[in-house]
Symmetry: C2
DNA sequence: GCCGCTTGTGCAACTAGTTGCAGAAAGATC
DNA sequence: GATCTTTCTGCAACTAGTTGCACAAGCGGC
């Protein structure tokens, strides 16, 4: 399970409060490890309990008030170990591929519209990734190891979206004209 | 959630007992919607309860004895509706991409070996898919709609594995020589 | 005829992730 | 200065998925 590692990574990149983390998950880390604010708050509690992060000293420790967290040495070490650990890839789960297989059995009525909708979503995501690439990784900035690695991650996201766009396009062609 | 749909699809393709389903998940449907035997037994119970499948009449309804299930009309209808339903793609979750991002922060020690291990696994999966394609979808068999759709699904699997093989190869190059 | 192995089904207890809601604090509106 | 809205944190209850184990039936050997 990788949520604690995702949070530690985000906190090392920049100490944050729970809500800040949630927002950053929505537009960065969350692109390949999504989490709701609920998961994040709960995990922050566990990580603090385990001595891997701590809340920055603040005047009043009251509910409804932002709490900034930073990573402790134990947390950094925990993350460092995980980077080199053996962990098998989780088997793929795609409801869309499954649906197409179901369509082979009960007919493909209505599937075309869904494929078009997904195609639009993946195109949008692809555009977003490309915008990020232009903004954060112009050719001249791809030098230090950290940046090279982060750029690789983004390239992974881009190529995955490209895969979906291509597959969906092929599927739509194969499915034939609308209202066949 | 798609497990019931996966099971209905599998049962429509061929009525089976719980264990048979488990085996078929391990080498077919499960490639894009995996499930353990536990999940399958539990879901079979629910589907039977809901009147979407039924156990074929058997002499003795005892524990430890195989039970064949077949899909009832209500189950088929349920699946048919799902094929055309709107359902957003679930956000990507890749522990490996996440790990690379963590590596950008705490260093990439040990990561290279993991990338190589994953590369081998994805290559093996790719080979398996290709063998299935040759066996089940020779060029002359890709005619009826059901077969065309099933082949599309398999092509999706193949291209996804190809994506990983290419990305991992690029990542290893980018990471530089071993023991940098 | 019993002993151990495999096949098949399933319960129980766990971890991970989701959804709905609530309450405190602080700024915005009148 | 009363109320309204937004921000931020969090509890509670749920669904999905995993892991470990148990128990029955059949089969094979001896």
């Amino acid at each position: 399970m990788s949520l604690p590692h995702a949070i530690l990574t985000a906190l090392l990149e920049k100490p944050s409060s729970g809500l800040e983390l949630t927002r950053r998950f929505d537009k960065s880390i969350g692109y390949f490890w999504s989490a709701t604010h609920q998961q994040i708050y709960r995990e922050l509690g566990r990580l603090e309990e385990a001595g891997q992060i701590r809340a920055l000293p603040s005047p009043v420790p009251v509910r409804g008030q932002r709490k900034e967290y930073e990573v402790l040495p134990a947390g950094r070490e925990f993350l460092r170990e995980w980077v080199g650990a053996a962990e098998d890839p989780k088997p793929l789960r795609s409801a869309l591929l499954l649906r197409m297989r179901a369509a082979a059995v009960v007919g493909s009525a209505g599937l075309r519209a869904e494929l078009e909708r997904h195609l639009a979503l993946h195109r949008a995501q692809l555009d977003e990734y490309r915008a990020i690439e232009e903004r954060d990784f112009p050719a001249e900035r791809r030098t230090g190891e950290p940046d090279r690695l982060r750029h690789l991650v983004l390239r992974g996201g881009i190529d995955l979206e490209r895969f979906w766009v291509e597959w969906l396009t092929a599927a739509l062609t194969e499915l034939g004209p609308p209202e066949e």
